[in-house]
Amino acid sequence: MTGATDLATDAGDTDPQVGLRAVAALRRLLEHLESAQVRSARAKGWPWQQIADELGVTRQAVHKKHGKER
């Protein structure tokens, strides 16, 4: 396994690559965490509106993103 620092050094430009790659990885993690939490809330019988309120988005937005998963 290669560390992020080695990768960046290979590419010749250190900081932006490490930072950007970390942001991309965090975004992917965030999407997975959100899906898991929404599935759990739905399984517990939460309505879409309540999930949307907690996530700070509209009911339509959360339904469009997660509604197909079931």
């Binding site: 290669t2 560390g3 992020a4 990768l7 991309a24 990885a25 939490q37 759990s40 998963e69 079931r70």
Partner: protein, 173 residues
């Protein structure tokens, strides 16, 4: 789109659909394209990687990543350098939800199964690879290069197995 694919490349896409169906996954994702490419241990993709990548190795790496919020060992190492312990974050977050909470729900084999956004990008990048080398059709090597160029989960998994886009570019086709 698939009229630009060589016959072996079309078979890989077909095999990817089968891999997704067999696993009951809701979409056809990067991992299914990767499994399809490496189904044949003597196939083009395995030869290009010099035998370092096996189907079992890929499946283990993707399974671990899926339980860890879609992050490969490479991603996890990158975040650790920034002081973020992904395993701890995921464990804390999902412990009330059960061990399989991060995995998508299973889907019946006969239901409609779309390509994921990431998998679509891989196919688009693979086409670009073919075009950039003025190939007449997209082959298995282009599909593998597409996976490595997408910089999503698959690229990190392959990097953990010692396969990088830049190395493969210089490898004779």
């Amino acid at each position: 789109m698939f009229e630009r694919f060589t016959v072996p490349a079309r078979l890989v896409v077909k095999a990817a659909v089968e891999e997704s169906q067999a696993a009951g996954d809701p979409v056809i994702d990067e991992e299914h394209l990767a499994y399809a490419l490496f189904r044949d241990p003597d196939g083009a993709a395995a030869r290009l990687c010099g035998g370092t990548v096996t189907l079992d190795g890929l499946k283990a790496a993707f399974a671990a990543a899926n339980r860890r919020g879609g992050l490969s060992d490479t991603d996890t190492a990158a975040l650790r350098e920034l002081g973020i312990d992904v395993d701890e974050v995921v464990a804390t977050f999902t412990s009330p939800l059960g061990p399989d909470a991060m995995l998508p729900p299973r889907k019946a084999a006969n239901r409609h199964r779309p390509f994921s956004k990431a998998a679509k990008r891989v196919l688009t990048l693979a086409l670009q690879e073919g075009v950039s080398r003025r190939e007449r059709a997209l082959d298995e090597r282009d599909l593998l290069l597409g996976l490595l160029r997408n910089k999503a989960l698959a690229a990190g998994v392959f990097e953990g197995l010692g396969v990088r886009y830049t190395d493969l570019l210089t490898h004779p086709a």
